[in-house]
Symmetry: C2
Subunit: 369 residues, 2 copies
């Protein structure tokens, strides 16, 4: 059980049962769909939570930096994809990791692929990153000519193995309905298959398709048309995913517990110790362009309750969180109490903490990178 | 000199000479004005940079958390104000610090002041936090009756010493001109003196006035009407202060060096390794509600250049930064190069790093709290 006396400063709290349910649901969906589950560990950044995935059969993972790959490699993970464009300046880390584990990187340009061939001793797997519509990174899906050339270069080289094509449909984060998320999934798969068809026609017959974002992976019933899925945020979910419809409120598995330090009943404001350095400044846009930085709920030793209606974090400075709430809600709180804040973006909020406290009363360390 | 080969991942770079100039300018202004300089160390969070202040005569500091106070107390600072409402849940740290150093805390309510009397062995200094217009925390400056009562309670108690009244005019951050910042300063001082007058009339003759924000402290020529100043951000400044007019571009003393990982000449985008977990998601609002997350410049071994015109960080995800720039600027960069990003808010950006790299090629550790 949570020992509330142990929580003296802003603390990331996780509901272990919800985390396990989220992992179970996503890994079962992958299993039933016959696709490889390669969860993204950038959200939780913890070897302990990583081990929870092992019980569901997870054997390979995704991370977003080489430092994170080093951390998880030290904790026994030996098949890791770094889903970030190759950073040439970290070649020493790449060389080290490639000699110890199955390391997969993203290829985005012939220059970087040549660089790897020249610099590596042990081979790495390479996925060609495809821009299937998000327009952040990757080779445009329509440019099949360049993609075929790059795949051939990868195949030709002795230090690079061609794995397939990989995308992140981050555009699902701006969808306004579940139907739109499903459309983005279908469109993404269609585009990736178009690319694969071009590769097959060019004689490249071994080519897997890997997709990744949490909204699409949460919303579709089955992973048709792909070989691998890499969602990450689903392990905790958050206010943003809840609003998108990727999860229900009861799936949200992480909150930040914050001590109440000041009460302003006349303007219905409560100030907590919990600011931008504990929650991040990601926000949700509400009607009339109002920004909110989290939902608010009570915290008891058994866990947190549903979000209090109309109670929202309306401003953050470095260490302060300003919460607006109703006079009735206000009356329940005293200075020194704890509130739980449902973060807008759990990946960024978790990254600001050094450990988690579980509802079972355990402290779980995170990577210090 | 900066060894660019040592910079392999997003790295906080500081220009030591600019930092020293910023410290010199602010501490001299305080000295000439005859006020106590109690700089806020939440921005740099480093004992090494703290020591640089000592050469300018700084003997007392401000921090924003008890953990930061513990860190600086361990590094020899023995007069520290925690400029944050007392967090009752951290009474053990308060007790410990109060027994070792001169510890000053903020009083906002009779309950917290009573709590301190009941729980402390060694006395602490208490400043009454005044809300002089920012409406974040503090007793409303017009409510002199409650302020007098609280000051009398503090004076009556054996474990609390009344220091004076303290405010943070954070509203200066939304000023649209230097004239407006000066008006906020004058208004703040006037309001604080109104409160002090009420205290004097009630028989409380010893009452200092402490003010704090970097825009006001940077813009005024002399600190009239106050006894203590507590600016923090000025040590590095940033894009936000530059826009406000608190500093010139040549005063900005910190950037985040980021490796270039992808180039998209067709849409004039460059992608760098450097995202929300290295810069924070604080942004500046540009015309047409466009957000920018930093300015961009080149980085050479001698330092960084002026911000490239029209080159801006237009989006951040966890590890990615998306930079928009002109075709001519674009043509100068290759994958594997470094760029320097001038952060929007240096306090939040610095907090995301574990050390600084100086233009002299030294690595400077930060507090790990």
């Amino acid at each position: 059980m949570l020992d509330l006396n142990q929580i003296i400063r802003p603390t990331a709290i996780i509901d272990q049962r919800r985390v396990l349910n989220n992992i179970a649901r996503m890994s079962e969906k992958a299993h039933k769909s016959g696709v490889r589950f390669r969860p993204h560990f950038k959200t939780h950044q913890s070897a302990v939570i990583g081990n929870w995935f092992r019980n569901f059969g997870t054997r390979c993972i995704t991370v977003s930096s080489l430092d994170m790959a080093m951390y998880f490699a030290e904790h026994g993970w030996d098949d890791i994809t770094v889903a970030f464009p190759v950073n040439l300046r970290e070649i020493d880390k790449i060389r080290d990791l490639a000699s110890r584990i199955r390391l997969n990187l993203l290829a985005l340009s012939p220059e970087a692929v040549t660089f790897l061939q020249n610099e590596l001793q042990s081979p790495v797997g390479l996925w060609i990153k495809i821009d299937s519509g998000y327009r952040r990174t990757g080779m445009p899906w329509k440019d099949t000519e360049s993609i075929v050339l790059l795949a051939k270069q990868i195949q030709r080289q002795s230090k690079t193995e061609f794995c397939g094509i990989l995308t992140h449909s981050g555009n699902s984060y701006s969808a306004s309905s579940l139907a739109e998320i499903r459309t983005i999934y279908a469109e993404t798969v269609h585009r990736m298959q178009t690319v694969r068809k071009a590769l097959t026609e060019a004689g490249i017959t071994q080519c897997e398709i890997s997709i990744g974002d949490t909204p699409c992976c949460s919303v579709v019933d089955t992973f048709t048309g792909v070989d691998e899925v890499r969602p990450g945020n689903f392990v905790f979910y958050d206010a943003m995913q809840w609003r998108l419809g990727s999860c229900s409120e009861a799936d949200i598995a992480m909150v930040v517990a914050c001590p109440v330090v000041a009460l302003y009943p006349d303007r219905h404001h409560m100030v907590v110790y919990g600011g931008a350095v504990h929650l991040s400044k990601d926000f949700l846009l509400m009607p009339e362009r109002r920004k909110i930085f989290g939902y608010v709920t009570s915290l008891l030793s058994g866990g947190w309750g549903p979000a209090l209606p109309d109670a929202q974090v309306i401003a953050l400075s470095q260490e302060h969180g300003i919460i607006q709430l109703s006079p009735e809600q206000m009356a329940q709180f005293r200075i020194g109490d704890l509130v739980a804040i449902i973060p807008v973006h759990s990946c960024l909020a978790a990254n600001l903490h050094k450990k988690y406290y579980t509802l079972d009363g355990e402290w779980i360390p995170m990577a210090q990178i």
